[in-house]
């Protein structure tokens, strides 16, 4: 049997609740939203709705999943985005840096739950972001250890922030949702859920602490006055401004330079062009692998599979040495001209 007790947060119940889940495609935010909505609407007989906003049907791009419900059965009619959430759940810590817009509408009524190993007091939010409670749960770490879905662990942590929904109703929905999984899958998700339930840390946000300035990467701001006509993009290859580190699931390839003989096989298979090379007549085939640009690495491990020696191995993301983070595909490209 799954355990559906709650952590001992004493939150009062609200009449209208709006939840926004911010995730990367493939992390299961859409399903998590659906589960919450089913428990609220079919279980508790609240009014409400759920929908998700995403791009094409792929992994790795930002997904927003919204749940609204009203415990006093106010009609819920709108399917517009939730701009001022009562609960904001961030499925990947890295999104706080790469997608600062996820903090839109966070106010004194908002609780923020983040998938992170950090303690809540360690987070720095963009200027002006003052939530009510901040909580963290090391969901990626738990997922790597248990094989549980990330969303199950996040749900385990989420239920303590929505006291309006009883554990029984949420439990029923989750169990029926996982009924099609294999016995191993069920067991892994059950452990994941319980760990999520018990592993989160919470604190009241201090409104006066030092805040980070918004992200320093400024993306182009085009409107009808300055956008090139016809929707043309006139800056070749500006996708290099993007950062895909949030697509990784806690692991990454690590390069052992002592083993590498610069054969170039990794460059043939890397879908994300992370390997940085320069010509060097002194190295075996006339070219030298400088390193991996982790900004673009989504952690697929194809390079590890193809490496004919053991120069590339699977490691945890935190094992990436700081020195490796200076390897830049763009800088190398600039040096060619």
């Amino acid at each position: 049997m799954w355990f559906f007790g709650r952590n001992k947060l004493q939150f009062s119940k609200r009449e209208n609740v709006a939840i926004r889940l911010e995730a990367i495609g493939g992390q299961g935010a859409n399903s998590a939203g659906k589960i919450i909505a089913e428990a609220a609407i079919l279980g508790e007989h609240f009014t409400g709705n759920h929908f998700s906003s995403f791009g094409s049907e792929k992994r790795g791009t930002p997904v927003k999943s919204y749940v609204r419900f009203s415990t006093v059965r106010k009609p819920i009619r709108t399917a517009s985005a939730i701009r001022t959430p009562d609960l904001l759940v961030i499925f990947h810590e890295f999104m706080m840096e790469s997608h600062p817009e996820i903090f839109e509408g966070v106010g004194p009524h908002t609780d923020v739950l983040i998938n992170s190993k950090k303690n809540p007091h360690e987070f720095q939010f963009p200027k002006g972001v003052h939530p009510r409670y901040v909580a963290s749960v090391p969901a990626t770490e738990i997922a790597v250890k248990t094989g549980s879905g990330l969303n199950t662990i996040m749900l385990g942590a989420i239920i303590s922030f929505i006291p309006e929904i009883t554990s029984e109703h949420l439990g029923q929905v989750i169990q029926s949702f996982f009924s099609k999984l294999s016995p191993e899958g069920k067991a892994a998700n059950q452990i994941g859920f319980e760990k999520g339930l018990h592993s989160f840390k919470v604190k009241t946000a201090k409104p006066d602490q030092d805040r980070l300035e918004p992200s320093s990467v400024t993306f182009p701001h085009f409107g009808y006055v300055n956008a090139p006509i016809g929707g043309v993009i006139t800056t070749p290859g500006n996708s290099v401004l993007k950062n895909h580190e949030a697509s990784r699931k806690g692991t990454a390839p690590l390069l052992n330079r002592n083993e590498c003989f610069h054969c170039g096989q990794c460059d043939l298979v890397c879908p994300d062009f992370c390997f940085v090379w320069r010509k060097n007549p002194d190295v075996g085939f006339g070219a030298e692998l400088l390193g991996i640009d982790y900004q673009y690495c989504k952690g697929c491990q194809k390079c590890i599979e193809v490496c004919p020696v053991s120069a590339l191995s699977l490691g945890k993301e935190e094992e990436i040495p700081q020195s490796e983070k200076n390897i830049s595909w763009v800088k190398n490209e600039k040096s060619k001209n």
Partner: protein, 755 residues
Amino acid sequence: MKNQKTSLKTGNEMVAEAAKMIDFHFMGYYPITPSTEIAELIDAMKARGEVSTVMLPADGEHGAAGACFGASTGGARVLNATSANGLLYSMEQLPVQAGTRMPMVLNLVTRSVSGPLDIRCDHSDLMFALQTGWIILLASTPQAVYDLNIIAVKLGEHPKVRLPVMVVSDGFFTSHQRQEVQIFENKSDVQSFLGVRQNPFTTLDPRNPVTLGPYMNDPDLINNKYQLHEAHEEAAKVFEVLTKEYFELSGRFYPALETYEMEGAESALFVLNSAAETTKDAVDAMRKEGKKVGVLKPLLLRPFPTEALKVATQHLKSIVIAERSDSPGSIGGPMSHEVKSVLYSDHHCDIKALSRIFGLGGKDFNEDDARSLLEEGLRVIGDEVGIPSFGFFGTDRGNPKTTPQEVLPRLSPAQVNESFVQVNASLIPGTQRHVLEVSIPEAALLATKSKRIAPGHGACPGCGIFSGLDQFFKGIEGDVVVLYHTGCAMVVTTDYPFSAHRVTYLHNLFQNGAPTLSGLVEAFHEKKRRGEIGVGVDITFVMITGDGGMDIGMGPTIGTALRNHAMIILEYDNQGYMNTGGQLSYTTPYGKQTSTSHLGKNSFGKRFHHKDTAQIMAATGISYVFTAVESRGMDLVKKAAKAQWYARNKGLVYGKILVSCPLNWGSEERMGRDILEQAVNSCFFPIYEIEEGKTKLSYVPEVENKKISISEWLKMMGKSKHLLLPENVEFLVALQTEIDRRWEQLKAKDAHPLL
């Protein structure tokens, strides 16, 4: 009222739920976001035995509409679902359906019409449908989607109507929004409401032959169209009757024009579908403040609810017509003109009307937005000056100081002409044919070559497309211009305002890339001939397409190949429509599970064999055809170099590369190469070349003692391993037999000097 159960469903799910009750004879479809789920869900129901509907995955929306037309002439109950450009691509068929008076139901899940390509909701597609002669019903909630699909069947088939019906819901806002809904418990309740389709004539009654679709000029056609006009007049009356009947059945009532808080209203917002639901929240809030505002939401768009609108507006002082579609150059969207024509049909009307274009391309519209439009409607009553009668709502000027910033150096001539790859051609004596020898450096040196695609694109982890494309471009020297068909590689490299392309890139919709590039190629040569482009300029033109683009775009591609333009067509084959959620393509292997070929007691996966596109293209007589796999990069580099030589010297080249799709193959991201190798070793995907008609195998697994049975490959993917189960042995044997046949034929071609 009949028994119903409560559930939580999206708009798309509710189309499928309605289809379960209706049990259509036939559904012809082609996947397009955001309507794709409809066919997926019904296919899954069919696999479970819940419906017996024939599911026909057409080669494009035009074909889907044709298939639906054909089935409907036979008296079948027919369903289709599409969006945006899918509707436009099928557009030619829609007046055929209406003009021949063949009922069917088409769910239009609205989305912005390309271009630029945008997958989110607006009504630019719907507005093109207004002139087709179809009945158009608007469903603003998942519940309405369900109810109106059921009503649509009966309305369209009514003896006084006999028209096809479109049920329109908003993409994502309704199609993907989950709400509490009611669903009939018993199919028989819906069936007895619908009755059996009565046909005055069908094409399936040999004892009563009919000529359907004659050649009809003047003076007859105008009479046919008058009959169509009369049918719409009747449809309005029948709708009124049917909605009352349906109310008895369901407890839910659908008026032709919904009026919300219109009693005593001084101003109203006329708005379609989901935005009207949002507007109700704003109206509730404003009414509490004593502001007299209401909402007008048509449910029947064709026939237009003229009389109901006259009645509802008679005491208004102003109206704001808000539209998710512009009609550029006409100072108002189509709805503005239609509403105004109703209002001002009485010359004494002094209602002030404002026209506002909002929410294009899915731009969010929330309660505050609705309120500001309603407030404008109130302000214009008070003779406030300066309120324009027409305008866009929610546009952004942008920051004029922002100019496009280059973040990467442009590729220099030296960078693209490093001569890493060299091709030596020698003429075969006594023929026009050549023998090409290609020399390429080690992979390491090729890794230093500047890439035509930059990192930062948004493909899924482990995607095989980009390693495949990069391998190909490693073999291409000099300047290139690329055209990408709609598909994964296009979507993930060009999300505005970002582009991963370092070379000039052009997109066109995937039924039409080859003709588009052929036009550009010919313009290039003509401009060069006229001296408008320098003689020293050389460009290699490459079209990149997925296997989906080779389904919907097959005809135009063959035409382009027959004209033999100097260009390369490169197909990345990931065995399905992956960008829209992994539906079957014609290259998907027999028996494989996809989101439109489910596994179940009534279905074993895809029901026809994979398309041999390379052989189809070879039959056009082009100079060079090749197949390659992403797992054999250096082989692909060489073939790319040859492709460039043939495109420069002989004409059109077609190449197909098999690339992995971990997401939709149900395989591990890191495993792509092993799976591809086994695809080659099992001879599912032989790698070979056809140079000026001569077939040459690049690799023969038997020679290396690596030949395996097809099951060795199928078992590696979650979406095909079911074929190894004992109960599926007949399908496995059928697939193995077909693969053996093709492989033996290919070996014979390789062996024979003339083949």
